[in-house]
């Protein structure tokens, strides 16, 4: 079965994109030139060892970094300056410590460019709190929440203003195994419903296959694409049970072979 997104236009395009950083005068190549096209409404999962430039890719799409070579386009236009069409959930939860969980979630709706009525804001915050399972913790400050809860606040804050593209950098890394599944399930439903395009960075190959339309495996530093596979499992998927399906096992095995070398290489350093 062909994925739905095959017919849809291209959203993000990396062509010959490489990135080199200067760390104390020495040149460090974070990303070897790569080519990757992401279609609208596609959910692309990026997997690879630490320091392989996956986060760099997200920063390039968000316009926080400029490529050293090649070009990144969004809707066919080169990304110049900040890209306001994306919602970015960084690896570090950047919650505002002086705001309660609810006020953190709703902060985007207070901005002039996304301003909504007070009543609607409260309603949407309540729906988000419910969605990420934070009922009863709305009025807690980030300092009073666990790492997993803070991640969920950050997720709700990114989802609430419904950006057309989500950039997510290991959003569920800090969650326990069960909650991770629940969040994956909700994320795939929300992104399907709202027709979002997603670039999702993770360490967890199982997670990548479970929610991705496409899985991209990266090599260790300097990062380059080692393998790309389509996941043709139909949606909506049952993230709780699909791990036992044949296609999941086959893909997992295939991609694990690619990833294994990189992970082993990583441990030598």
């Amino acid at each position: 079965m062909e994925p739905v997104s095959a017919a849809l236009p291209e959203k993000i395009n990396f062509s010959g994109v490489g990135k080199t950083f200067f760390v104390r005068g020495t040149e460090v190549q974070a990303l070897q030139p790569i080519d990757l096209a992401v279609r609208a409404r596609e959910f692309v999962a990026l997997v690879g060892p630490s320091g392989c430039g996956k986060s760099t890719l997200l920063n390039l799409v968000a316009g926080l970094l400029q490529p050293s070579e090649g070009s990144v386009t969004y809707d066919g236009k080169p990304v110049q300056g900040l890209n306001f069409r994306v919602g970015y959930m960084t690896q570090k939860d950047t919650l505002l410590p002086w705001r309660s969980a609810a006020d953190n979630i709703g902060v985007s709706l207070e901005l002039h460019c996304r301003s909504v009525s007070k009543a609607e804001r409260a309603e949407r915050i309540a729906a988000m709190v419910d969605l990420v399972g934070l009922s009863g913790f709305e009025n807690h400050f980030p300092g009073e929440l666990s790492g997993g809860m803070r991640k969920r606040v950050a997720l709700a804050r990114t989802l609430i203003y419904e950006p057309e593209t989500l950039l997510m950098d290991e959003p569920f890394g800090a969650l326990d195994a069960q909650l991770k599944l629940v969040m994956q399930d909700q994320l795939q439903r929300i992104t399907q419903d709202r027709k979002m395009t997603v670039l999702f960075v993770t360490h967890d190959l199982g997670e990548a296959i479970a929610i991705g339309d496409r899985v991209v495996v990266f090599s260790g530093r300097p990062g380059r694409i080692r393998a790309i596979r389509d996941v043709t499992l139909p949606r909506p998927r049952d993230v709780f049970r699909m791990r036992f399906s044949e296609e999941f096992s086959r893909l997992h095995e295939e991609l694990w072979d690619e990833l294994k070398d990189e992970v082993v290489k990583g441990t030598d350093i």
Binding site: N83, P97, S108, F141, G143, Y161
Partner: protein
Amino acid sequence: MTGRSVVSTDQAVRTKAGERRAVLVWQIAFGLGALALWELTGRVFGSTWTSLPSQIAQRLLLWGGTDLFRHVYVTLTEVFVGLALGTVAGVVAGLALGRTQTLALVLRPIIVTLYSVPLVTMAPLLILWFGLEMESKIVLVTVVVFFLMFFNTFAGVQSIDPLLVTTLDLMGATTLERYRKVIAPAAMAWIFSGIKIALPYALSAATTGELLGGSYGLGTLLSRAGSQFDMTGLYTALIVLLVIGILLSEGVAFVENHLLRWRHVAE
């Protein structure tokens, strides 16, 4: 199991409160003991240099019936007006320089250089410029508070996590919104710790100015008592200043605990 843990935390809270009460009792006992010793040694060995607590209490009552409150009012007005002006100026300058690199490069060394002058030594100059009454002392307090607030705000703004700013920027925040939602609240903590530091300096700047001249204020009271060799008057004025100092710093700590609740909850 949970029941037991609740009981034990309850007990912990109670012991803590009990400990605090015991400490307070000891402190009061110590204070009263020191006063008694003061009174006793004064009566036995003579009180020319040390006055006596009983005489100070009498003087306090006497002054209270005349113009003590006018002196207190003048000093407090100088402190508060100067604190307000200096805080606004220091915070604005700290925010502007903290967020604009070129401005900081040019102006910060100048501010640092100016700060190396002991500020209270400006008092005679300011008195010549602004006269002997409240204005000159308000200017002195403002200058002292400005520097302290500037350095605190500047450091605070520099320590804001740039990712917090980036997150709001990506949501589409305007420059003004970035200030209102991230930079100002983050700087709040620094501003409060700045005010806490600046308060005793503001009080000392105001009284130092008054020592040099003026018709009202606790510093005036002090210098008048000193020139008349009035030991009891000196001690009385000092004790009034002590009480004012304690009340001011306790007041700021109270307000801070309420406004910056988020900072304490994690502990």
